[in-house]
């Protein structure tokens, strides 16, 4: 079963969080239930740097379906980074539940969170965060090392992902020998190499010039078109515009939500 956007749809009556309904050309409403990748219910995150409690998140409820491309926008201090950290399983919420692909990760131990990050999440950072000592392909294979994948399979998969981002001719270059855009593409390949459920990009174009930024956004769109779930965190409206849905966050709450035409 498919829908006009070309995303993979799945009918799953056991999932209570299904949401998208549409009306067919013949006028019959069809309920399409898709499995959510992200399901957050009433998430709070409170920091206590001193005696005063600081609420970074104040009851965020949000759901991202498989194959969706969602942008999270918000000014600095809005709780956007905290949301990204929790979404990426780098941090756990103070209260509320967070299910990633149906698995509750809100109270997981550090080791289990590491495993989830390794298998289910691909990070793309503003700073690229490549290890300067390692060549491009060895940077890409890093997550597979922690997944205990044997070396020959690691190299094969790393090369395949570098090909996917168009860097087949740069596999043996070190990050310092690559341009910013190329470095970010290596980072993107690294995020894809474990075939994660969620691609989490935190200001991926923040350090790039316009041409390189467009290249990266184009790659994200391509990945989305091929069925990947992408969450993009940014403060630039132009960047957010490539997403299918834009969530605006302000003062730790979801302020508005708009779906692209």
């Amino acid at each position: 079963m498919s829908e006009p956007t070309g995303r993979i749809a799945r009918v799953d009556p056991d999932e209570p969080t299904g949401r998208v309904a549409r009306v067919d050309s013949d006028g019959d409403p069809t309920l399409i239930v898709r499995r959510p990748v992200i399901d957050m219910q009433q998430l709070w995150k409170t920091y206590r740097p001193g005696s005063l409690a600081v609420h970074a998140l104040r009851g965020v409820t949000l759901s991202v379906d498989e194959g969706e491309f969602v942008a999270v926008m918000g000014p600095s201090g809005s709780g956007k980074s905290t949301l990204m950290h929790i979404m990426g399983c780098l941090d756990i919420p103070t209260s509320g539940t967070y299910k990633l692909r149906g698995e509750d990760v809100s109270e997981m131990s550090e080791n289990s969170l590491a495993r989830i990050r390794n298998r289910e999440i691909g990070f793309v950072f503003q700073q690229y965060n490549l290890l300067p000592r390692l060549t491009a392909w060895r940077n890409v294979e890093l997550p597979l090392i922690y997944a205990r994948v044997p070396a020959p399979a690691r190299r094969r998969r790393a090369l395949a992902c570098l090909e996917q981002v168009g860097l087949s001719d740069r596999v043996d270059h070190r990050p310092t020998e690559l341009s910013g855009g190329q470095q970010q593409r290596v980072a993107l390949a690294r995020a894809l190499v474990t075939n994660p459920a969620l691609l989490l990009a935190d200001e991926p174009t923040g350090n790039l010039d316009t041409a390189a930024a467009l290249e990266i956004l184009g790659l994200l769109q391509e990945l989305h078109a091929s069925g990947r779930t992408v969450v993009l965190i940014t403060h630039e409206p132009d960047v957010a515009a490539v997403a299918g849905r834009v969530l605006r966050i302000r003062d730790g709450q979801i302020d508005s939500e708009e779906v692209a035409a």
Binding site: E110, A114, R117, N118, I145, Y146, P150, A151, R190
Partner: protein
Amino acid sequence: MRWRDTLRSGFEAILGHGLRSLLTILGIMIGIAAVILTVGLGEGAQSSVNSAISALGSNLLVVTPGSTTSSSGVRGGFGSASTLTLADANALGSKRVAPNLIAVAPEAETIEVLTAGSSNWTTTVVGSTASWAEVRDRQVEEGGFFTRQQVSGADDVAVLGTTTASELFGAESPIDQTFTVNGISLTVIGVLTSAGSSGSTDLDDMAIVPITTAQQQLFTGTFATSVSTIYCEASSTSGLSGAYQEIDDELLSAHHIDEPSEADFTITSQTTIASTANSVNRTLTDLLAGIAGISLLVGGIGVMNIMLVSVTERVREIGLRKSLGAPPTDIRRQFLVEASSLGLLGGIGGVFVGFIGTVILPHLQTNPVKLSVPATVGAVFVAICIGLVFGVYPATRAARLSPIDALRSE
């Protein structure tokens, strides 16, 4: 993370900071080399002491004169008295008096000038009996040793050590040649097999003459009547204590002493000499090894210091690895492998330097150096452990870093 990948990552990190790693390794290296060399020196000294003592002969009891007190009250050291005589030695040689002794050899020795033709040589002249070679465990290489008859007849004969023989007669065979001491002409009847040196004493530089000849013709002063040492060989190791008792009883009665505490002689067994010498040696070795151990500790602190720097410097990398799914255990293990590899490399380097040292050191000083295999293996093991122990704190710190804080750091 697989072990192979952990090891590779650790070595890459070490190679990535070549100079810094080298300096850290140097600290461990010096410590390990110091331990190996001090233990080697200690063992070398011990084996040379042991060989010197066993060179005395086997199952030996050594009787030396007691101390003297001069009329003005000044007390000489042990052996300064001249209370032992040839008669004492002859009495101990009797099977009836001391059944546990198989041979007795008194010694009286002075330094004399030996002259043969145009050459002369100053050496120790030892007066003794026919049992000397057996008691002192020496062999005759050429010719023969003097006999009981030659001793009782006070014949003018001598047996030379190889050094003395070659100094006096050069390459010629010394047998049947003559040399003079204090105007007395002596005929060489034998040359001893070389026994090398014991400490700084050349065991081959001496002339042995019958003690009767020595006392009647060569020596003047105290040694004309007394002997400096009586070497007694017991029949077996188990007979040593019996032999000790027999010597003690005989000498006490011969010297008319009723109170054993007032004995004017001292009986020492080889084992007591050996254990005294070795315990002194061991104390010195322990002291030096302790100092070397401290330098190893300092090296270990160097490893910890560098690992802490490494963790601080790589906070971002740690954060990234964690965000890519590295569990704390993998991060900790990675840093532990790095620290223990520094230790291992330092250990191997230290063994290498220590090995070179054991080859070079004997040329620079007189004491022998023995490369101790257990000390070497132990040193490498200790080096790895030092890396591990001093790596625990930095590695734990790295493992505990929060990925968010680590990623945020610049």
